[in-house]
């Protein structure tokens, strides 16, 4: 990125950058999460959006319940096999580029529910970018995961479609 603040330009100046870096900078700071909350973790996720932890400080407060308007899926809570097909479908409906956070032990690996109904980790049917352990994780951990996603977007980016 180059900065030109030549006084000859009347104090206006300009930046030179690549379109990709510019787009990724925008993507990174305006994530639109789609909260896919199913269980206990969803309550902690609500706490993340509420006043004390306030995820909007990281540009990610516009929770979109329609997958077509979101680029970050926050899967929080136990995913059963009955729910898994729904989860996969909603992921498929999200436009590219998209990222997935697996929040809580259940989504990471089944958690305490090693039973006939529960998927042992959502990476059985979804690509996951960041895993958060904990049952449920503290809100700070969720914020940390969002920051990791931001870092990932900044470093790796995504193609401009």
């Amino acid at each position: 990125m180059g900065v030109n603040a030549d006084p000859a330009l009347g104090g206006e100046g300009f930046l030179t950058t690549t379109i990709e870096a510019f787009a990724n900078w925008g993507r990174k700071n305006s994530l639109w999460p789609m909260p896919f909350g199913t269980a206990c973790c969803a309550i902690e996720m609500m706490a993340v959006f509420a006043s004390r932890y306030d995820l909007s400080r990281f540009g990610a407060e516009v929770a979109r319940f329609s997958p077509r308007q979101a680029d970050l899926m926050l899967v929080s809570g136990t995913i059963t096999y009955k729910m898994a097909s729904v989860c996969r479908r909603i992921y498929d409906q999200m436009p590219e580029p998209k990222w997935v956070i697996a929040m809580g032990s259940c989504t990471c690996g089944g958690g305490p529910f090693d039973s006939y109904a529960v998927v042992q980790g959502i990476d059985e049917f979804l690509p996951v970018d960041v895993y958060i352990g904990g049952c449920p994780p503290r809100p700070e951990a969720v914020i940390d995961a969002v920051m990791k996603i931001q870092k990932k977007i900044e470093l790796e980016g995504a193609p401009i479609l």
């Binding site: 199913t38 206990c40 309550i43 509420a50 049952c135």
Partner: protein, 367 residues
């Protein structure tokens, strides 16, 4: 969530205009912002009026009963957190009471443990009702009520965290009493909460109770008659209970609830607005109970003196990790109740929560 289908065979002719209209089938959920959980409802709509709703559940069936058949009673406790996670502490206490009843040791539980459990139980009730009211308001477009409610929930989380180390999934009391004594600043924290929380309640009350939009969107909505409520088996603040005022804390007192002075608010109308008022008043009553409990919190032991039931005293050093068995040596033996079956019900924030436990004399529940 996105699927919309038109059902043609149910087309009806409007008697006045003579126009043909069709009911529309709309699939709502299981992932929908207003279900707050995983509920799928297939709705049949005539314009804006729902003429038929077919609910589908089971999207969060995790097989807890089956899992509990393979572990000991004490180990079942963390699973109970995750049933109604808005008030984990109430589920924990209900389960612990059921196991204590199965073991027949209710009378041996010290007063300090019981009083602390009453305080925690009522905090759990407030916690759950705050989500109920807050998210209901959020769905109707009132964001500020939601934020006020969640601000107070954070205060309750703080208390829970000092007591048991977890914010949401508490796994707090144990069979036979508390796992460790209450922290030193417990009383101060509770008194502080009792001072601050009523002010927020007044604010929420100002925001909602006489708010025209709130009233118009909840009054007369989702009406349940008292007959239907009993026939369908509804408990808690949901059903209108004027004919059968029923509250397990009064009807079958546990934890010494008979010693507390409180009223049972009753929803008179059976619509969403009266359920809101009922929940609101329940929070005020919970505050009354907590006030009485903290004023009379006795000193003394926090767990029963029952070596077979209470596994470990905190005064002893941390038990050694036994790598061969994979469990701490102090935990190798667990209480085995005599064969029998009990059902114990508690008045959870959402209504009756009953545990039905069957023992075959072994360390883990049979059913």
């Amino acid at each position: 969530m996105e699927r919309v289908e038109f059902v043609t065979e149910e087309s009806v002719v409007d008697p006045i205009t003579g126009l043909k209209s069709e009911t529309m089938m709309l699939n709502m959920g299981p992932q929908h912002p207003a279900t707050h959980g995983v509920l799928r409802v297939v709705l049949h709509l005539d314009g804006e009026v729902i003429v038929k709703a077919v609910p589908h559940i089971g999207y969060l069936h995790r097989g807890i009963e089956k899992l509990c058949e393979h572990i000991t009673y004490q180990q079942c406790l963390p699973y109970t957190d995750r049933m109604d996670y808005l008030a984990s502490i109430c589920n924990n206490i209900g389960f612990v009471l059921a196991v204590e009843k199965l073991l027949g040791v209710q009378d041996a539980i010290p007063e300090r443990a019981k009083t602390a459990e009453v305080i925690m139980f009522e905090l759990g009730r407030i916690e759950s009702h705050l989500v109920g009211i807050g998210t209901n308001a959020l769905d109707l477009g009132a964001m500020s009520a939601f934020l006020y409610c969640f601000k107070e929930r954070e205060r309750i989380y703080e208390i829970l965290e000092t007591v048991c180390g977890a914010r949401l999934t508490t796994s707090y009391p144990r069979v036979g009493g508390l796992p460790l004594d209450l922290p030193d600043d417990f009383e101060e924290k509770i008194r502080n909460f009792l001072k601050i929380f009523p002010k927020t309640l007044v604010e929420v009350d100002k925001l909602l109770t006489r708010n025209k939009i709130w009233i118009e969107r909840t009054k007369g909505v989702a009406h349940i008659s008292p007959e239907d409520a009993i026939d369908l088996g509804l408990t808690g603040p949901a059903p209108p209970r004027e004919r059968h005022p029923y509250d397990i804390r009064k009807a079958n007192p546990y934890l010494g609830y008979e010693n507390y002075d409180f009223d049972v608010p009753v929803a008179t109308e059976g619509d969403a607005y009266s359920r809101y008022l009922c929940r609101f008043e329940e929070m005020n009553q919970s505050l009354r109970i907590i006030q009485q409990a903290i004023d009379n919190l006795p000193d003394g032991p926090y767990a029963a003196d029952l070596p077979d039931v209470v596994l470990r005293k905190r005064s002893s050093p941390t038990p050694a990790w036994n790598p061969s068995s994979g469990i701490s040596s102090s935990y190798t033996k667990d209480s085995s109740p005599s064969p029998g079956e009990v059902q114990h019900a508690v008045e959870n924030p959402k209504g009756e929560l009953s545990y039905y436990l069957i023992s075959d004399g072994s360390e883990s529940p049979t059913g």
